[in-house]
Symmetry: C2
Subunit: 328 residues, 2 copies
């Protein structure tokens, strides 16, 4: 039919435009082996003539968030949200003035807060993330994201996303990939802004969660957030969370810490072409430089094994032309 022939003609006319665009799809990345490895992988899995061709339905890419899509220093941003929440709620909880970890949170004493360990952090999460409906929680996060600012950069936290990674997400999607976040952070915290900031809709966000309960309050159904852990989407939890949400093994994994080790291992040990990517924070001037000794985003075992396992390591300082987006 004439229409089909017309479409084929249009495709042929537009193909060179698409290719020209692809060559420039990662402008914030310096030319070099890292950028080349990414492009080579994407080209071979999208080329129908290649033995490594992967159909679009299986082009699934997973990205850690903290320290990988946005910054995580000096401490995870979601922890700063929890501290700000506790401070806002403190007038209603006079007992917190003498009770850890709340006292430390109110005083902004992150060191003592972290020293309170897992038990202390769970108390903080319970006080700041539970006891309200899912929609109330999302509003709280949305307000915080609009107002809170990073002390060193004096920017909103959602402006401290990595411009080269935003381009990588776009580049993969324009090549038929579906992109997911796979984070140790809270699933509902991330979903509040992931679509706007990363172009990743709520259904493609996988994260840690607390339990919810279905209640009908005065005739209105709500999902009420309980102060109980449901799932920790970190380390060996990442492949489990991926399987639970996606039900397929991704072919591309991107992370920056040992918390991503099992995800990288799971993804890159599947059949066919696979890509593992590690972001190494090496840029003390434009961002931060840290790895083996850091208390957030510790990168040790994954860095040691990257070469043997064929994972590509991004050297932030040398591979990235820019770090954060220009904000107008």
């Amino acid at each position: 039919m004439a229409f089909i022939r017309l479409l084929i003609l249009l495709t042929a006319i537009l193909a060179p435009i698409n290719m020209a665009h692809a060559a420039d799809a990662l402008p914030s990345w310096n030319d070099g082996p890292t950028k080349k490895a990414i492009i080579t992988f994407v080209e071979k899995v999208t080329d129908k003539g290649s033995p490594d061709y992967v159909p679009p339905a299986d082009r699934i890419a997973v990205f850690d968030n903290d320290g990988n899509l946005w910054a995580e220093k000096l401490v995870y941003f979601q922890l700063l949200f929890a501290i700000d929440r506790v401070r806002a709620l403190a007038p209603k909880h006079p007992e917190w003035q003498n009770e850890q970890p709340f006292k430390a949170a109110i005083e902004g004493d992150v060191k003592t807060l972290l020293a309170s360990g897992k038990e202390g952090l769970l108390k903080l999460i319970a006080a700041s993330h539970a006891g309200m409906s899912a929609s109330e929680f999302r509003e709280t996060v949305a307000d915080w994201v609009e107002t809170a600012r990073h002390p060193r950069f004096d920017k909103k936290y959602t402006e401290l996303v990595y411009q080269p990674m935003l381009q990588l997400l776009d580049y993969l999607r324009s090549n038929g990939f579906t992109t997911y976040i796979v984070s140790g952070g809270g699933i509902e915290f991330l979903r509040t802004w992931s679509e706007r900031v990363y172009g990743i809709p709520p259904a493609q966000v996988i994260g840690s969660s607390i339990q919810t309960e279905y209640d009908v309050v005065d005739g209105t159904p709500i999902l009420f957030r309980l102060p109980k852990t449901n799932f920790i989407n970190d380390k060996a939890g990442k492949p489990i969370g991926i399987n639970q949400h996606i039900g397929k093994r991704p072919i591309f994994a991107s992370g920056n810490s040992d918390g991503d080790f099992e995800m990288l291992e799971w993804v890159t040990s599947g059949d066919g072409a696979r890509f593992g990517l590690i972001l190494h924070h090496t840029d003390v001037d434009r961002e931060y430089a840290y790895d083996r000794e850091s208390h957030v985003g510790r990168l040790d075992k994954a860095l040691d094994q990257a070469a043997d396992r064929g994972w590509t390591v991004i050297d932030m300082k040398n591979d990235w032309k820019e770090v954060f987006p220009e904000v107008n």
Copy 2:
């Protein structure tokens, strides 16, 4: 640019063709108020000029599976799979000959099996669904689906899907909806065949699950299925499972039993245009007739409240021209 103008022209030329197709999108449904209610809803949420317009990203439709997309009588098909598995494994478990519910499963005594209650069924699930990797489990299900046949209809279970519902899934998707399964059945059981049979990929399947563990066996990572319940995606669990997987409230819900009550309630009490659909099994000749007294797919409270809540009830006998697809 000329290309854009050309596209607009093509769209204008093709629009009447699409509309002609839409009028005939549900050929297995008899004309009448049920079919009309569905089409009216879809037309108003997809019409940009309508006050009820919903953008494609929010056009989310959720479907129960058992008794809603495929049959569930005389007993849930996944239970028949579990019985067949226990029989296949019985030679390695001589102790099962004298232990319930295994003895009943081996003897095909479904009545005694069901009388063993929740505890008995969990034992059966543990023996038939756990103790292997996720990929081994999928192979087992795929084999069963290819060979097992329904005693009354002498068809494969995946042939006992409802042709009018397959058309409804297609019709919604061709109108920009994303379709999900939200089942009390097992998520991995469903994912094995949901894409082929319903066009619903694994990431759009929400179901009950057992716990999995990430292990590396001889250098190969696996997800090992444990004999422990993770999540029961039924009744009030359905809105919770929907929120966990999708992170948005759907606008269209379809179910057939009181197990879908909370899902219907949750979906239809959101803002804007909403649609609740209940399949009432009224066709003893072509399928089955059951509701308030049935031990599977009990439909009582949801049927009572359907009119007040504005839910549309399908009368299978009168609303459907055909029940199952013609199989060649």
